[in-house]
Amino acid sequence: MALPQRRTDIGPPHYKDFLPPVMLKNYGDWKYHEILSPGLMVHVANSGDKVWSVRVATPRLLSTDTIREFADLAEKYCGGYLRWTTRNNVEFLVSEEKNIEPLQKELKEKNHMIGGIGNRISNIVHTQGWIHCHSAATDASGIVKALMDDLADYFTARETPNKVKLAVACCTNMCGAVHCSDIAIVAIHRKIPKIDHDKVKNMCEVPSTIASCPTGAISPDPAKKSVKVNEEKCMYCGNCFTVCPPMDIADPEFDGVAIVAGGKVSNLRSNPKFSKLVIPYIKNNPPRWPEVTEAVRHILDAYIAGAKKHERVGEWIERIGWEKFFKVTDLPFTFQHIDDFTIARETFRTAATFKW
């Protein structure tokens, strides 16, 4: 059968064609909202109209069968309207109050996790991992599944002092929001790249490979028409591998993940913050990465025990001080924690004020 006529530069469809009528009618005219239960909120318009949102976890990677199941539920209870959130949850947009209970009931029967609204652990923003990426030093989906199984109560029921945003990045490119999350996992290498000199000659542009190195560890190797890596300067970031494939850096024995904490993107109370290193290395241990889930749970427990209401992880750590953070979590403090990258001096304590 002939293909339909292709069109270019049309952009996405207009959003107004996809809004439920109640949202279209009250667009920009909302009065307030309330969180009614861990996975249910209501938005009330100045007109008095209401829309209920039922939030459900997804693994982000979805089969067409599951998307059809969501579509069927939306048809049955929401006039066919649904949306995804910026953390890859699904929200069913309910205009008729009588449909809320049956929708929630059917979601539960089908084993969907309802929750993620309010001061809880919502979905984990994550990346492709071994499922689709060439530079992945761990598998993102597997770690996310292991973590969320362990923390499921905090999605569906239990509260935390404030939101706890988790993220997983499968290499130091950090696609997603690892660098500004409350607790996040980032995969790292610990060995310098192995160079296949014959292939560098044919596949790589030497100047851009040299320029890709954040520490200036790469220099030309004219005799081999290739490059060399200064072992003392290389921090195993893998960016050279991104621009020059024959600089393979993956190493199953030494690759693994680091844990960072204390980042946030919102401006509420305190300015947005970067996440900082708290655990330099945990080995990859598929399929369940038990050491990683245990470490995250450990940091989370310390935060819940120590934080004031509304304090985010980073705000709690700043209030008690990093020296106290390492004390209450009993995590080892190592040379790896002391910055020696470009902004190192910004991180040094230029004062005599600290806690014992």
């Binding site: 996405p12 089969s63 490119n173 660098h179 509420l268």
Partner: protein, 394 residues
């Protein structure tokens, strides 16, 4: 029937309460060879603790330089159906809204031409069609584009802009995030589809400083809604919050970063001129407090992930700009920024890195924005600064 693999390690990840990506892959694998081989290769990765994907080759659709991420298995003989396993980025709708009918239509097409696996959504906001062969790219594009869907961005181009839910459902939004997002995407289709920049460029639009799209951390240009005016206080609703157990002094007044609030047990007072519009009080007392006055946005530039100079958060360039259609003032400003970047940017240099390398002065002068204290956290510490001939004449 698709090939079957033994997957004892991945099977472990079908247990537990959180929805399983392994179950998703298996659902697709039951009727699709590509998904079956994806599952087989992933099990091998779990066994050997390393990935088996090669660097992407350059693949795409006619007329475009981006939107498709080429991906090839490094084990094509072992897993032939994922020898090509390319990703297609479909530009999602502002705010990620769908109808059931459109989703089903998309699913039927994707089952016909691809692996049946998706990501809803990629981190930038695209709908990701995960895994197809090179020869299916043109048919998929014809099928989707004829139904009103276009590709998103990839490579050294404008990437797919995304935004928070905004005025469609949120009472805090100061700007029409969905419309801004749609308008910018349409305005710059060429910049999205035909990479012509030194490196990638991302827009994200947030209706307020809560920043539910993480624009300040994940967009070269962060558009964050704000207001010039007052926070209107409904004292009756404040009293209701107090009555319902909120400790207004501890939870609101003492947590205000600018210490511009007071509460004597009956009346909540805000010194608006000292408020930094962080949103904490409004977010916690959404029935009682409301931003009023002139609405617009703060434009921040420069956030990115670590490579090469280290992670950055966007910083303020324009403290306040009106954001009303057709957004000409904003677009002119962006075009000037791109001109500066195109002229001076090195290969794979993000705009934020360029500004840091060239200095804020050169950038601000080029785009025609005055220096303002809102652009900095604190003035410089060291006495090493440039004077131009013109400065000396002043």
């Amino acid at each position: 029937m698709p090939k079957k693999y033994e997957t004892p390690l991945l099977d472990e990840l079908e247990k537990g309460p959180f929805p399983s990506f392994v179950t998703e892959i298996k659902k697709a694998a039951a009727k699709n060879d590509m998904a079956a081989d994806e599952l087989g290769q992933l099990e091998k990765s779990y066994r050997e603790r390393r990935g088996y994907w090669k660097h992407g080759g350059i693949v795409g659709v006619r007329g475009y330089g981006g939107g498709v991420i080429g991906r090839y298995s490094s084990l094509p003989e072992e897993f032939p159906s994922v020898a090509n396993f390319h990703t297609i980025r479909i530009n999602s709708v502002s705010g990620f809204f769908y109808t059931s009918q459109i989703l089903k239509e998309m699913c039927d097409l994707w089952d016909k031409y691809g692996s049946g696996l998706t990501n809803m959504h990629g981190s930038t906001g695209d709908l990701i069609l995960l895994g197809t062969s090179t020869e299916n790219l043109e048919p998929i594009f014809a099928e989707f584009s004829s139904r009103g869907w276009d590709l998103g961005g990839s490579g050294s181009a404008l990437r797919t802009p995304s935004c928070c839910v905004g005025p469609a459902r949120c009472e805090w939004s100061n700007i029409d995030t969905l419309d801004i997002n749609y308008n910018l995407t349409q305005e710059w289709q060429d910049e999205m589809h035909r990479p012509a920049f030194p490196y990638k460029f991302k827009f994200k639009t947030a209706g307020c400083a809560v920043d539910c799209i993480a624009s300040i951390a994940r967009a070269d240009c962060s558009i964050i809604g704000t207001w010039k005016g007052t926070i209107a206080v409904n004292q009756d609703e404040v009293a209701n919050y107090a009555k319902n157990g909120m400790n207004i002094k501890e939870e609101i007044v003492d947590m205000c970063p600018s210490r511009c609030m007071s509460y004597d047990g009956t009346e909540l007072k805000i010194r608006d001129e000292d408020c930094v519009r962080c949103m904490h009080c409004i977010a916690k007392m959404t029935k009682a407090l409301k931003a009023t006055g002139e609405k617009g946005a703060t434009i921040l530039i420069g956030s990115k992930a670590p490579f090469v100079i280290g992670s950055t958060l966007s910083w303020v360039i324009v403290p306040f700009i009106k954001m009303e259609p057709p957004y000409d003032e904003f677009k002119d400003l962006i075009r000037k920024m791109w001109e500066f970047w195109d002229e001076h940017g090195k290969n794979r240099e993000r705009i934020g890195e360029l500004i840091i390398r060239k200095g804020m002065r050169e950038f601000l002068e080029f785009i025609g924005v005055e220096p303002q204290p809102q652009q900095i956290k604190e003035p410089r510490r060291d006495p090493f600064f440039f004077w131009t001939e013109a400065d000396l004449q002043k």
